[in-house]
Amino acid sequence: MSTPPPTPPTSGWHTWGGILLVPVLAIFTALVIGAIIIVATGADVVAAYGGLFMGAIGSPRAIAYTLVEATPYIFGGLAVLIGFRAGLFNIGVEGQIAVGSMCAAVVGAFVSLPPGLHAIVAFIAGALGGALWGAIPGWLRARTGAHEVITTIMFNYIAIRSTDYLIKVPFLDKESSSQRTPFIAEGAHLPFLFGPDYRLHAGFLIAILAAVATAWILKRTIIGFEIKTTGANPDAAHYAGMNVPRTIILTMALSGLMAGMAGASQVLGLEHNLKASFSAGYGFDSIAIALLAASNPIGVIPAAMFWGALRNGAGLMQLNSGISINLINIVQALVIAFVAADQIVRQIYRIRSARSAGVTLSRGWGR
């Protein structure tokens, strides 16, 4: 090769350092502010953060549990990220997870198939359920201009009420005293990787694969190119002959597919049934992870692991220091605030600004 293609310097250590610097400093600053809150309430910072650390990665079992916690966040972060790339803000991950887990739980418990195949079919059913639930707001956005930020939130409430009904009436386990669906068949379980003691299941591997697949789709396929073009400039995408409404619907379906997989992997890998009020706050956390990952599909994996570590360590933190688990929510919100407004972090630590052109989400409410 005599003439190398004129690629812009987008890879290499200096840019990787730049990408990692802001999230790491954001996390550090948020933890410092968290420490100030702990001191203000009169508790012991060392006991609190020591508990958090030990609870998250202090033993092989703690690490396995952290990865288990991280699994739905990887899927959820990918769901939000795919939307971001097309300029769409999917706040509906919560509802899509609810629908996905409902579909997986019903197929897992009420359909009989050979073992193994059963798990695959149930997983696909969950993924497709989430995809459908994401595609409807996408269709509404593309056809009527109804803004996805509001419609996806409304679809969350609709999904949560509907699944609540489905769990409590048609698919209730009548032999159980608690309100949940029957246990899924043995053959529909996602296998444990290191035995039931460590609880780490195959869903984690699927999540890693999903992250790699997302990176590939966005980087190497036509639909990925259409998604990115639509996100960067929908008018340009339209004049280039792309079908923008179709891209919007497809993006939301793909985004919902990821969220549906989160629900399916929780049901088939971990819970093995579906309780009333199952998914708790995954929606907003997924947004946080997508932001923390700086919209990089592979970056979602460490971001989700950090999130899982905070969640997993919070219990021991509370036990050791008496600090409420809700402190973690504050730390997480501060992380997002600092990542979203990276100018603040750059100002605190005097880093020069090196902003790339981002995607604009707020374009008003119409088309």
Partner: protein, 414 residues
């Protein structure tokens, strides 16, 4: 396929499907010859007193007629391609659904309809105030999806202060201050740091959930256990006006924040359309560059408007913890801040329009409370979902006709 689903066809189809669903509802749960009675009592009458008037309606026939009107109007809408009538038709569909469900629920029984109308106005309070907060922001060119978080934070701080001093009026003031404080985070992020406004709004929504959850477990619960007590803001009836039948219970027998809402709607309308401040606000929302040329400090004005909107959202938050109940629960605003944005869009960014949008949603809420006492075929979850379904339908039906301020969401760099 591309152009088959035009706006009026989608809306018309929704109307026809709704009419069919209503017919199915009647088939399922209305016995032959059933009568539903709507009761209008005297303004200050007790439940056991003789009513002003009882309106007996044949249940099935009434719903058939309403459904027939829906279908007829849908074909009219589709045939004449009147996309401009879509919002009005949408409002009609929602009203018919609410009336039909009410009639079906109270079949062969009677209910006090005025009580439901009064509750409708009460429940519209946080949605309308939230929508007013949204209007002030968006008219000046700032998207504010942080209203939900602002309300939640204000509700929490207001409740804590009220518990601490045993005075709910102090709580209300604290809520207003808290709302105006947290919304400044949104203002600074989006106006100074030029963060995407949807993201900075989401940051506040997440922050509010975390902070209020923390405050509830580590401040409110210990205070309540320590014997701190207080009482909700109390109702006062306006003399004379409150004894007018129907209108009295609807508008003049309320608690303070509801009155405040009823005053704020015309007030904001006058401020926005009849004062220099309003003209400037609308100017920087439509064409900030031109406004800047005329000597208006665009970003300072936006800061001011966002700050005021935080105060209004703070009042809305106080409604949850100090007026509707005397209590603070995790995530007690339950999406009302987002519904407020839908009401704002429905009302085409005008205060009175937002009020009418809010009444559509609160009617669904009031209906849900009303029929709890009756034996009804639909599971409660589906009735609870009605306000959210309505929000989606309204958004799908109205946008495209509605025109947001031109510069909304774009940071201004002088």
């Amino acid at each position: 396929m591309q152009h088959f689903f035009t706006r009026e066809r989608i809306i018309g189809l929704i109307g026809i499907i709704t009419a069919l669903a209503l017919l199915w509802l009647v088939q399922q749960s209305v016995p032959d010859g059933a009568i539903s009675t709507l009761r209008i009592p005297y303004a200050n009458g007790k439940p056991q007193d003789a009513p002003l008037i009882d309106i007996p309606l044949p249940t099935a026939l009434t719903i058939y007629v309403l459904a027939g009107i829906l279908v007829g109007a849908a074909f009219g809408l589709m045939w004449r391609k009147r996309a401009d009538l879509a919002p009005a038709y949408m409002g009609g569909v929602i009203a018919v659904v609410i009336v039909s469900i009410l009639l079906t629920a109270i079949v062969n029984n009677r209910t006090d309809i005025v009580d439901m109308l009064g509750r409708m106005v009460r429940l519209a309070t946080p949605i309308t105030l939230g929508a007013l907060a949204g209007i002030l922001c968006e008219r000046s060119g700032v998207v504010n999806i942080a209203i939900e978080g602002t309300m939640l934070f204000a509700a929490c701080i207001g409740f804590i202060v009220s518990l601490a001093f045993g005075n709910s009026w102090l709580g209300l003031i604290a809520a207003i201050l808290a709302g105006s404080a947290i919304v400044m985070v949104h203002a600074v992020l989006s106006l100074h740091y030029k963060t995407d406004q949807i993201i900075s709004g989401t940051v506040i929504n997440i922050l509010a959930v975390g902070v209020t959850g923390y405050l509830r477990t580590s401040v409110i619960l210990p205070m309540e256990a320590g014997g701190n007590r207080g009482a909700a803001l109390s109702q006062f009836d306006i003399p004379l006006l409150s004894s007018i039948p129907v209108l009295g219970p609807m508008f003049f027998q309320h608690r303070p924040i509801t009155y405040l809402m009823l005053i704020m709607v015309p007030l904001v309308s006058i401020m926005l359309f009849r004062t220099p401040w309003g003209l400037r606000t609308r100017a920087i929302g439509e064409h900030p560059r031109a406004a800047d040329t005329m000597g208006i400090n665009v970003n300072r004005m936006r800061y001011f408007n966002v700050w005021i909107s935080g105060m209004i959202a703070g009042v809305a938050g106080a409604w949850f913890s100090l007026e509707a109940s005397y209590n603070f629960d995790d995530v007690m605003t339950n999406g009302r801040g987002f519904i407020a944005l839908a009401a704002m869009i429905f009302g085409n960014w005008t205060p009175f329009g937002a009020l009418s949008g809010a009444l559509l949603f609160s009617a669904a809420d009031a209906l849900q409370i009303k029929i709890q006492g009756f034996d009804f075929a639909l599971p409660s979850q589906f009735v609870q979902m009605l306000p959210y379904v309505i929000t989606v339908v309204v958004l799908a039906g109205v946008i495209g006709r509605a025109r947001p301020p031109a510069a909304v969401g774009k940071p201004y760099e002088p």
